[in-house]
Symmetry: D3
Subunit: 331 residues, 6 copies
Amino acid sequence: MADKGLFIDTLPHDGVVTFLALVREKELKPKRNGGVYLHLVLADRTGELDAKIWDSPQETSALFDRDDIVKVRGTIELYHDRPQLIVQRIRRCEQGEFQEADFCPASDRDPDEMFAELRGFVESVADANLRVLLVSILEDADVAGSLKLAPAAMRVHHAFRSGLLQHTVSLCGLAEAIVRRYPRLNRDLLIAGAVLHDIGKVEELEVSRRLGYTTRGQLVGHVALGLEILERHTARLQGFPVELKTVLQHLIVSHHGELDKGALKQPMLPEALAISIMDLLDARLEQAWTLIDQAPKDEEWTVYAPSLGRQLYRWPQGEAARVFAGSPVAA
Amino acid sequence: MADKGLFIDTLPHDGVVTFLALVREKELKPKRNGGVYLHLVLADRTGELDAKIWDSPQETSALFDRDDIVKVRGTIELYHDRPQLIVQRIRRCEQGEFQEADFCPASDRDPDEMFAELRGFVESVADANLRVLLVSILEDADVAGSLKLAPAAMRVHHAFRSGLLQHTVSLCGLAEAIVRRYPRLNRDLLIAGAVLHDIGKVEELEVSRRLGYTTRGQLVGHVALGLEILERHTARLQGFPVELKTVLQHLIVSHHGELDKGALKQPMLPEALAISIMDLLDARLEQAWTLIDQAPKDEEWTVYAPSLGRQLYRWPQGEAARVFAGSPVAA
Amino acid sequence: MADKGLFIDTLPHDGVVTFLALVREKELKPKRNGGVYLHLVLADRTGELDAKIWDSPQETSALFDRDDIVKVRGTIELYHDRPQLIVQRIRRCEQGEFQEADFCPASDRDPDEMFAELRGFVESVADANLRVLLVSILEDADVAGSLKLAPAAMRVHHAFRSGLLQHTVSLCGLAEAIVRRYPRLNRDLLIAGAVLHDIGKVEELEVSRRLGYTTRGQLVGHVALGLEILERHTARLQGFPVELKTVLQHLIVSHHGELDKGALKQPMLPEALAISIMDLLDARLEQAWTLIDQAPKDEEWTVYAPSLGRQLYRWPQGEAARVFAGSPVAA
Amino acid sequence: MADKGLFIDTLPHDGVVTFLALVREKELKPKRNGGVYLHLVLADRTGELDAKIWDSPQETSALFDRDDIVKVRGTIELYHDRPQLIVQRIRRCEQGEFQEADFCPASDRDPDEMFAELRGFVESVADANLRVLLVSILEDADVAGSLKLAPAAMRVHHAFRSGLLQHTVSLCGLAEAIVRRYPRLNRDLLIAGAVLHDIGKVEELEVSRRLGYTTRGQLVGHVALGLEILERHTARLQGFPVELKTVLQHLIVSHHGELDKGALKQPMLPEALAISIMDLLDARLEQAWTLIDQAPKDEEWTVYAPSLGRQLYRWPQGEAARVFAGSPVAA
Amino acid sequence: MADKGLFIDTLPHDGVVTFLALVREKELKPKRNGGVYLHLVLADRTGELDAKIWDSPQETSALFDRDDIVKVRGTIELYHDRPQLIVQRIRRCEQGEFQEADFCPASDRDPDEMFAELRGFVESVADANLRVLLVSILEDADVAGSLKLAPAAMRVHHAFRSGLLQHTVSLCGLAEAIVRRYPRLNRDLLIAGAVLHDIGKVEELEVSRRLGYTTRGQLVGHVALGLEILERHTARLQGFPVELKTVLQHLIVSHHGELDKGALKQPMLPEALAISIMDLLDARLEQAWTLIDQAPKDEEWTVYAPSLGRQLYRWPQGEAARVFAGSPVAA
Amino acid sequence: MADKGLFIDTLPHDGVVTFLALVREKELKPKRNGGVYLHLVLADRTGELDAKIWDSPQETSALFDRDDIVKVRGTIELYHDRPQLIVQRIRRCEQGEFQEADFCPASDRDPDEMFAELRGFVESVADANLRVLLVSILEDADVAGSLKLAPAAMRVHHAFRSGLLQHTVSLCGLAEAIVRRYPRLNRDLLIAGAVLHDIGKVEELEVSRRLGYTTRGQLVGHVALGLEILERHTARLQGFPVELKTVLQHLIVSHHGELDKGALKQPMLPEALAISIMDLLDARLEQAWTLIDQAPKDEEWTVYAPSLGRQLYRWPQGEAARVFAGSPVAA
């Protein structure tokens, strides 16, 4: 494996540097005095940098594509007060030379470990029909492969590689905690709801180095795609009770809570209410801490988050936490 | 077949009458001075009538059930200024003694004739994949049987036996007219949208003598049930193009137009826009004329329609139509 | 203590009965042939019954008031097909002759026990300032007395005696469960939010035998009344940090989540988001099970709940639960 | 007529060119080293180009105005990677030297031909009062002149020269198709609604080379301006029935369908419902195809359309259309 | 003039009475034992009373119509605990025998006096064009006659005879007060806005003994009817400046403030903003005091007002006003 | 006091200038060829200007801070067609050398004079309890100091130094005018509402040279902060009637009118309705004239105001005002 070198947010503002980066944009542009040069935007999980290649731009451009990882060497300059890289050497890296996670935001947790944990939750389901169905879905190679990679959303929450899996596992654990406080809730249905409510996202969101909606995702959405996966698997299971399928469909179509937020039906079972609210809790907290962690250390407020319609307050961060005099209030 | 006798809206306000009716309500009630009597609500497609049975109420009650058709003979009286029937004879009618259509509102058109017309539209679809799919759905006994009976809605529009079929056929005809005006529209997709957009209603609405939602209908809704039918049939067709399935799913999930009206996605194809708007046009016009026809002859305004949030104006009805002096403005 | 006698929902439909009841309505009405009679509506926690007193109505009326508990003896009759009581003897009961809980719905749990549990949560708060403040509020006789009696709402959820206390204690327990799943959350703030978010309801809702808004409650609301209680107690505590007061005020003013639902500010701290969502979860689940338990045993659906805009589905209740073949799905 | 020369979207990126263009912007700007130069934005219906005049800028500036058509000769250069024109010769063109349609987007159809078609529809109206009224409006020089030029909207749909007329004629044709499917609809009223619903736009939108609202349009809007035109013409017609005027006013004030979309009244006649929905259909389809046609050939999606709140899907365009294997699905 | 006799809210509950009343309802109903009787609802501005005529019902019914004023003599009885009148003598009253104001709620102020005051405001307008226009409208017999009688609304505010005139005059006075505080406001436009904003109500609301919408009112609304009146009068005035007409039209179409409240345009002039807000103030205060005055003396709260979505608080009424110890806070 | 020198909007586009300015931004930036320069944004109440310091940038940067007032001398140049200042001399000004009002927008009126006027209104309150309370608040140094400086809003209306005080005094005057037209309104409550409704803004908005929300303002808002001030002062007054406090709290929590606009309760008293509507009137008119005065002289329309969702029309400004021929319509 090649050395990643410096991350973009730690690069100096001048001098010669060597590092690995993702090619986010690549374009031949005309020079003022004729001829062309190659313009790049390089990126890793810490930021982006403009780059220019003056020599043999067309030949160089043929060596790699957008979304490739490259090893690059060049000189940093300031241009219009922003740093840019004048490239001297660049080459495409092969699979194995780098770690995917260095180039796009990813879950802190290992996908295989999370998948095993999810498998454990599914196997703990008491009802045989339901357990067999959920195992069938997790063993579906199309689903499992994507589930390990997919984000839970483009932007709002868990918007990183394996975010969907992390959100799903987190909801299973939350379900366990909630059912202990409210023992009338049916644990099996809560686990099923945690696994199924967003399962259509394995087809809705692209799992390449570039987060994005698939065409099916944009035209049909993860609710309908989740129903499709459910239908495919229940159709294979002889004698799967239609009443149970109906309830599972209900958990999927109701999990957004209200019609104007994308639900086809409002939640009509205590378990459907619980899934919908737990989903909100997990999504909001993950989003909140991401915003808080991304804010500069000395800022009291995060950036404005359009999906929330507000900024978040970072108290009690750092020194201000001492308001809680002499006691361990903040983590 | 027994003689239906008078329809309820033409019964005299006194005297002895004999006629056939649907038993909408049946209840044993205590008499003031002890003992019980049998209280009925009788109905046909023209209205309702209270009835009382004083003799042998318990034995008589055992002879028929709610939703049965009965032949009844009795005397009409006024009670609290409203007519009621004092029953002297009553018996359950057998299948064959009556016409279903006399007892609940039904389409003016013959279901088999409409189904044949629909079949014709489906067979005119040019694309082979799409034609085979639609034929497969119409030949599905579970679908076809219900489609001939189901209403298109509980209340708002086409709320009568075979209303769904009538609405579907009407949309096919409208599609044909629209595609002639806008030849860039894809006729095949418009026909497919007309057939599929509400197809889930065959499982959403009960097709007995009493309009009502099924449990599946209430929990899952006709959009998800329509997706299920589509999935079932595309799964059977080898090599059905996933791009085409995606577009058909889009037509189903987008046909309510806006999220807060029950769409999962806004229409994103010209054909999806057209289906959604044509659906609105056909539903609104049917509803409008039903309201207008139900209003008393000399009323300028219909009753208030909660689903529209308004009354409708009946002009130019009857004499007022002469405003259009000397010309054939109104039908 | 006097014997309660039969509850109203188990009274026979004729014969002589003796039982204790709350006087919900009391009115002298003119008889058709001159003179007056006394009309009552009697109630207990199971239902209501009309009653009439023909003898000495005016003298009898002077013996008790609306909202008194009375011991009554009389004969049940049917009138317009509904039972009513013709009273022969009636007298006002004294405090000690009856149990309050028989006459209005109340929490299943003992208020003192719940209060002790709440006290335990408050004493476990790590931050000294916050702990002293919360203890100060719970030791405030005006607050504590009402807190043991007040409902959490007029209608929607926990709409019974001690409902506010039950909701508060439930949220504290939920906070503990949530903080274990999300250890970045500040446990002290969650406990504080659970205790304070609805504390103004001790002045908003009347805690007599008749649930109702106080004048202050209707004009000012529990958010502002909660702020007032907080201000009163922080003013007494020397050197209470204004930053901490600000955060507590924020928890109160933001707990309804959105402006159009009664929040002055959207939640801007992870803990404020959590409080707002946990509040929703506890309220919705309590409301759901109340609706489910009130529905007749064989009904698949609850009544329509206007505050939810829907009916709830009671599955898997009773026999239908066997769909989950051979496994303990439902409690 | 002068030769138009190349359209802006086909100009080379260097070399000397001569062509006709509209002057969209014109401004004298200070040079860095003192003195001024003349900055222009040139446009035709295919795009825009920056231009600079270094010699005699003030004298040249006096030769033409914003919104004039000019004949220009100069050298194309790249500046900040964008092409710009260094002007050597420029002169104002006279009426007759150019075709208006080359310089702003315009209907594909000839205005006079469309106007004749509209006249035909109006003359086919059966009711004499209505026919005379509509003819009177079309013969009003103020109306007719503008109607031939005005767009139907600033941005959303038919946002081009003669767009209003094209939309009006299209609706008349659609009315004819619809009335054939729904013969209870009054054809006269549909034609009247098509002609009148947007007639106020002849005063709302400016019909110069620059689409824009008039002051009257912005302060009063096309609904009120349409009512004004209707009032002016009915006032001239002796004995025009007030009932008919009322219905025509209703068609105008209700055609936006809902109050929050600009209707003063919801549609209350079947014909008013139909006009409002047909208007939506024609507007949406025109807008959809314009978006689709403006998108680059290989893009699956159009740009985001703010007025629709979505992107549109361009399927089945080009090769992807072969999904419909072997059949003529797409035009 | 005949003596009105007792008002309905002061009638005794038994005995023989003679008084004048409005016939609100009149219907022949079948008697239980055959034959018919005449059922009436009698009314005056203080309330309603059921009445029955047993003798010669058909002949008697022919003597008067709904909405006539009658002189009636009969015996009061209690029926189902409500008083009713058994009529012995009844006859139609002629114009001149009674005062209109006794039979429907009416303004406290004399219409002619208010009209004179309004005339004074109009004549004080400084701009000649505007003054001539407003005078022309007030001298239009169709307008003036209705203006003296029409209510300002069916229910919400000034819902009584001459309410529109009272509201208009009140706004003129308010305009004068406001312009003194904000001298940049144009007094002429404020007076014009006060007079014109609701002028269409003279055709929208019926000015008979029964408040109600006219057909034109329901189909077209007072905004469009006001524009029509304005157009009719400006058309008669040679050289009336179109800019001024435009601003007046703007005042009319914008006075509801927001599109979803019935405005075609939001107010875009300071004077239009002021008219819209002053209109709200005058309407809300009149409505508030009506609600407060209608509530029983000892009630702290008024009835729930659906148009406001709330009850109003009556403090400081009566004794409670002493809270303001020793000072004249309440009128 | 130093001479302010030219205001920024009157500076020449070249030559040497000397003037006083506020330092809005200050940043050391790298030069292209190595080393750094000091970049400033200078401002006064008329506008902003970029400035660069090439000599001894680091030493110079240490001499003053952001938000200081400086005296600066330099040469104006055009850079990218915009003027900038090359600084030759710069020094920090001391308090006393300048007038605060020159550097940020401020009320036209003197704060002390307005405060005295407000004091006069407060002393005219008839009710002793209320008068003592209001005086107590105005004598609270924390309140009074901020009240003289605070703006009434960040952007929407009265967004300038002492704007809150100006708005408060203006509402008191308006209250006086309104109470004269509607004598049933309680003058004391109107004055109290004018003083208290926005009083929390003294802690919500920062009163430095930079308008901005405080942390408390953003987390808690001026409604809750106003309640806190009220509670602090009523707690000090022995025997202040709780009924009166409740009404004052109601005026504060209801003054935004509707829940979705930030009210906790809708106004339920005539005086609360009046306060809420008068507040709207004063805010809208101030905002309207500010927009109108900021627009260029010959523009018919103001800029688009996002908080209003519209542009405003500037008629009748300047020459167009002559439409009102021969009469003094516009100020």
